[in-house]
C-alpha cells in the first residue's frame, strides 16, 4: 500500500518538475523579453525618437501662462533646463513608447502566427510549435514590462525631485550672487545713446546674434544656457559681462564692456553756452588720468568713440588750445573705466551743448539728466553781470575768456525743474558748482576765493544767491570749486579741474584722493 502511494507520489513530483521547468522557462523568456522591451523603450525615448522641447515651444508655453507687463519681453530662445521641462517630455515619451512596445508584443505573435504578416506562417508554426505557450506567457510578459516601465518612471521621478531641488538651490545662489554684486557695487547697465538705465543688459549670442534679454540663472539653465543656434552662453551677469556683447534693453545699442558688473557712475555736466563745460570735461579727465597714474589705478577709455574724443581733448588741453564748440546733437556718453576689471567703475560723462539747456522743449530728449547721480554745473564768471561791470576796465581779458551767453540762474532753474518734475528726488544726488576760467579771472585782477564756503559766499554776493540758496535745497550736498581748465601741472591743487570730479566720484565709492604731498613729490621728481 505504502509503496503504491510512494510511486504515485513520485510520478506526481516528476510531473510537477516538468511543470516547474516549463514555468521557469516561461518566466525566464518573459523576463528577457521584458528587459529587451524596456531597452527598446529607453532607446526610443532617449536616443532615436527623442521628443525635444524646442525653445520656441517652451517660449510659447511660458507666454501662455501670463500676460507680459509693459517693458517685459517674452522668454529668450534657449533650451529649457532639463528638470524644468524636458524631463516631463521624456517621461511622456517613455509612456508613449511603452504603449507602443506593449501593443507590439501583443500584436506581433498574432500577426506572425495567425495573419502571416512576418514571413511564411507555416515557418513560424514549425519554429515555435507551441504558440499557445507563447500567447499564454503574454500576461506575465506584460506585467514584467509594466513593472520595468514603472521603475523607469520612478527613476525619472527621483531625478526630477532631486534635480529640481538642486537646480533651484543653484539658481537661487547664482541669482543672489548676481543681485548682491550689483547692489553692493552700484552696478547698472546704462546706455550711452538713449540713456536708458537697466539692472542688466541684453546680451548677443556670438553664434546667431540673437538677443538674450535675461541672461540670469533660471529656467533656461542654472550655470549655462544653450541658445537656439546651439551656442553655449554663461548664465550669470557676472560671467556674461566679460564673455558676451552687452546691448541696451531699449535701443539695442552696444554697451560698454563690463556693464552691469562694474560700478556705474553717471555725471551730466550742464551750464550756459561757452561756459567752459567741454573744456572742464577734458581738463578734469586729464587731471584724473594723472591721479590714477600716481595711484597705480587702471584708467582706460573702453570704446573707440570715447578714446578718440578724449585723445583729441587731452591734446588740446596739454597744448593750451581752445576746445571746439560742442555740437547741438544729443550727446553720447564719454565713458572711462577707472580701476581694474571686475572691481573698477565705469564713469559716464554727458556734455550737451549749452543751447539745449535753454530750450524747454529740448529737455525731454535729455534723458541723461534723469539718470544722473552726480551733477556738475559750470558757471562762467565772465557772464555774471556784477563781475563783468567790475572788469570793464580790462576788456581785453574778458574778450579772451569768450564769456558765456545767457543767465546761469535761469539755466540752473530750468535744468533742476526738469529733473525734479520727472519725480527724481535729490536726496542722494551731489552737485558740484564749478566756476570755470579761474585762471583768466585771476589774470584779469579779480580776487577769486579758495574753499567751497568762501566761493558760495562770493557767488552770493555777485548776485547768484538764487543758485546758492536753491542748490542747498535741491541736492543732498553741494560744493563749490573754482577751476582752471588747463593741464593740472600748470596750476595748483586749489584750481585743479579734477577736484570736482574726484569729490563726486568719492560719493559713488570711487576713491581717487589727490594728496598734496604726492603731487609735490611728483613735481619735484619731474624737476630733477
Amino acid at each position: 500500500m505504502t509503496s503504491r502511494v510512494s510511486a504515485a507520489g513520485l510520478e506526481f513530483y516528476d510531473w510537477m518538475s516538468y511543470v516547474a521547468l516549463g514555468v521557469l522557462i516561461i518566466v525566464a523568456v518573459s523576463l528577457l523579453l521584458a528587459l529587451g522591451g524596456a531597452g527598446v523603450i529607453l532607446v526610443r525615448s532617449f536616443v532615436t525618437h527623442v521628443n525635444t522641447v524646442t525653445p520656441e515651444t517652451y517660449r510659447d508655453e511660458r507666454r501662455g501662462t501670463r500676460d507680459l507687463k509693459p517693458g517685459e519681453f517674452p522668454a529668450d530662445l534657449a533650451y529649457p533646463a532639463y528638470p524644468r521641462r524636458q524631463l516631463r517630455a521624456d517621461a511622456e515619451a517613455i509612456k508613449a513608447n511603452y504603449t507602443l512596445v506593449s501593443g507590439e508584443l501583443w500584436h506581433w505573435p498574432r500577426d506572425a502566427f495567425l495573419e502571416g504578416r512576418h514571413g511564411p506562417q507555416l515557418l513560424w508554426w514549425m519554429a515555435f510549435p507551441i504558440p499557445l505557450v507563447g500567447l499564454g506567457m503574454q500576461p506575465l510578459l506584460q506585467a514584467l514590462l509594466g513593472i520595468l516601465v514603472l521603475l523607469m518612471l520612478l527613476a525619472a521621478g527621483i531625478v526630477r525631485v532631486v534635480g529640481s531641488l538642486a537646480f533651484w538651490v543653484v539658481v537661487c545662489v547664482l541669482r543672489t550672487a548676481d543681485a548682491v554684486w550689483a547692489r553692493s557695487r552700484g552696478a547698472a547697465a546704462s546706455c550711452p545713446r538713449c540713456y536708458h538705465v537697466s539692472e542688466r543688459p541684453a546680451y548677443t549670442c556670438p553664434g546667431c546674434h540673437r538677443l538674450h534679454r535675461d541672461i540670469r540663472s533660471g529656467r533656461l539653465g542654472a550655470f549655462a544656457r544653450r541658445c537656439r543656434c546651439g551656442h553655449l552662453l554663461p548664465a550669470t551677469v557676472i560671467r556674461a559681462a566679460w564673455a558676451l556683447e552687452a546691448r541696451c534693453q531699449r535701443c539695442e545699442e552696444p554697451l560698454r564692456r563690463g556693464a552691469a558688473v562694474l560700478r556705474d557712475v553717471r555725471i551730466p555736466i550742464f551750464g550756459d553756452p561757452n561756459s567752459g563745460k567741454s573744456r572742464f570735461l577734458y581738463a578734469g579727465l586729464n587731471s584724473l588720468y594723472g591721479t590714477a597714474g600716481r595711484s597705480n589705478m587702471e584708467y582706460a577709455f573702453v570704446d573707440a568713440g570715447s578714446q578718440a574724443a578724449a585723445e583729441s581733448g587731452f591734446e588740446l588741453i596739454r597744448m593750451a588750445q581752445d576746445t571746439v564748440k560742442t555740437t547741438e546733437d544729443l550727446p553720447r556718453a564719454l565713458t572711462v573705466r577707472i580701476g581694474a576689471e571686475p572691481t573698477g567703475a565705469l564713469v559716464h560723462l554727458f556734455d550737451a551743448a549749452g543751447e539745449r539747456f535753454r530750450r524747454p522743449e529740448a529737455h525731454d530728449e535729455m534723458g541723461f539728466l534723469d539718470q544722473g547721480q552726480c551733477f556738475v554745473f559750470v558757471i562762467d564768471p565772465f557772464s555774471v553781470g556784477q563781475l563783468r561791470a567790475r572788469l570793464s576796465q580790462t576788456e581785453a581779458s574778458v574778450l579772451v575768456a569768450h564769456p558765456a551767453v545767457g543767465d546761469p540762474e535761469s539755466t540752473y532753474g530750468e535744468v533742476v525743474t526738469r529733473i525734479r518734475s520727472g519725480g527724481i528726488k535729490g536726496k542722494h544726488q551731489r552737485l558740484a558748482v564749478v566756476v570755470s576760467k579761474a585762471d583768466l579771472l585771476e589774470r584779469s585782477g579779480a580776487d577769486v576765493p579758495n574753499g567751497s564756503d568762501a566761493l558760495a559766499e562770493w557767488l552770493y554776493d555777485l548776485g547768484l544767491h538764487n543758485i546758492v540758496l536753491g542748490a542747498r535745497r535741491d541736492f543732498a550736498e553741494v560744493r563749490y570749486y573754482a577751476v582752471a581748465s588747463v593741464d593740472p601741472s600748470t596750476v595748483g591743487l586749489a584750481r585743479d579741474p579734477g577736484a570736482p570730479l574726484r569729490w563726486l566720484l568719492s560719493s559713488r565709492g570711487v576713491r581717487l584722493e589727490e594728496r598734496a604731498d604726492t603731487v609735490l613729490a611728483t613735481a619735484a621728481e619731474g624737476e630733477r
Partner: protein, 59 residues
Amino acid sequence: MTPHSYIACRAVIVAVFLVFVLLIGLGLSDRGPLDGLSTQLTDRLFDWSYRHLLWPDRS
C-alpha cells in the same frame, strides 16, 4: 544641438533604473539589500497556488 546636460540627465535616469533592476535581481537571488525577496515571493506564490489551484478543498 540639444544641450549636453540633457544627455547627462538621461544617463542618470538610466543609471537609477538599472540600479533598481540590479537591486531587484540581487534580491531575487537572495543577495544584496533586498535579500529574501525571492523567498518571500516564491513562498507566497506556492502558498497561493497550493491553496487555490492544486488543492482548493484542503485550504
